[in-house]
């Protein structure tokens, strides 16, 4: 659980981020931000959904209150992830380490960290966050400064990268553990319901939708299929 191991685990995440951040760079500039502004937004926020919403608040000259509420709701899932991750931390995680490592919590780095067999050390977390943060910022810069160079068909195809990565993270454990499979299916079904029912999608933002679906599906599964410790072991030894 050292820094180098963390770096290695962060590499595929970083490569995925590069293409997604590229897309964000294009989006931000076409919304009216200067390229350097897009880059600073990525460096200081390090989050995808929140930044897309944030850029539209900036572009439409929204209020500070609006910005705070939007970011709070969209990023509330990080609070849940942060609490889940505290249960995996090694004793080396002092107050100061938590203070710094908190910045690196993202959907992907969180899933990577909680699916490690051993307790998570500060060195590992710093390794895990290094390349993704660099790639996220670099990708935004490339997209913001040169996005229009790529043909639209290539840009479209690259838009799939981050979602394919999500699939690659959740399918193997779902294949080996039926309860995880049902949890994923239920969350995906709820998410689709909110997306496709016009009244629901009009009243629930996408960030909030993720929270509702994840909480409802996880609570239902925790109630119906309590996790068997043996199962947990088998899965993480894979």
């Amino acid at each position: 659980m050292n820094y180098t191991y963390g770096l290695k685990r962060g590499l595929p995440i970083a490569l995925g981020y590069l293409s997604v951040a590229f897309g964000f760079g294009i989006t931000a500039v076409s919304a009216g931000l200067a390229p350097w502004q897009a880059v600073i937004v990525s460096l200081t926020n390090f989050t995808s959904a929140g930044q897309v919403a944030g850029v539209s608040v900036i572009a439409t000259l929204g209020t500070v209150i609006e910005m705070i509420i939007a970011q709070f709701i969209i990023n509330l899932r990080y609070a849940l992830m942060g609490i889940a991750l505290t249960q995996k931390l090694s004793g080396k995680f002092t107050f100061l380490h938590r203070f710094i490592a908190a910045f690196g919590i993202s959907d992907e780095s969180f899933v990577m960290a909680v699916s490690e067999k051993e307790k998570v050390t500060p060195a590992y977390m710093y390794g895990l966050m290094t390349l993704p943060i660099m790639a996220w910022t670099l990708g935004t810069a490339i997209g913001a400064y040169s996005g229009s160079v790529l043909p639209i068909s290539v840009r479209d195809a690259l838009g799939l990268a981050i979602y394919a990565m999500f699939v690659a993270i959740i399918v193997p454990p779902a294949r080996d553990n039926r309860a995880v499979m049902w949890a994923v299916i239920m969350a995906a079904a709820l998410s689709s319901l909110i997306y496709y029912v016009p009244w629901l999608s009009a009243h629930i933002s996408s960030g909030f939708s993720v929270i509702i679906c994840a909480v409802v599906a996880s609570a239902a599964l925790a109630k119906l299929c309590p996790v068997n410790e043996v199962e947990k072991e088998e899965q993480s030894n894979d």
């Binding site: 970011q71 990023n75 942060g82 479209d156 979602y163």
Partner: protein, 104 residues
């Protein structure tokens, strides 16, 4: 615009960071409730499941090419290929199927 940008940027970055930092830093007890442990065990899978479906169907150009990319990713992931391989094959599949659809 620039002054406004700085104010909004600070509000944005600060909110995002505090949402991450406060629970992560100040939550120090071991969770004893079996239900809460199980709940937190399922959370990451559910978050990613809800973030992927249905948004993946609209992420790669047309619905049809995105669907092809999604199916390719499912098969690759089921066979436990590494993250990057799954992502690359999904992107290439979406790109190629978009070309094929246009020819048809």
């Amino acid at each position: 615009m620039t002054k406004n940008f700085v104010t909004l940027l600070v509000a944005m970055a600060l909110t995002t960071y505090l949402v991450r930092m406060i629970p992560f830093t100040f939550f120090r007890s071991q969770i004893r409730s079996k239900f809460m442990c199980d709940f937190l065990y399922y959370i990451p899978y559910c978050v990613l499941g809800a973030m992927t479906v249905p948004y993946i169907f609209y992420a790669g150009g047309s619905f049809a090419s995105s669907l092809c990319g999604f199916l390719a990713a499912l098969v690759m992931a089921y066979c436990k290929f590494p993250l990057l391989g799954v992502a690359a094959v999904a992107c290439v599949t979406a790109y190629v199927s978009e070309i094929v659809i246009k020819i048809l």
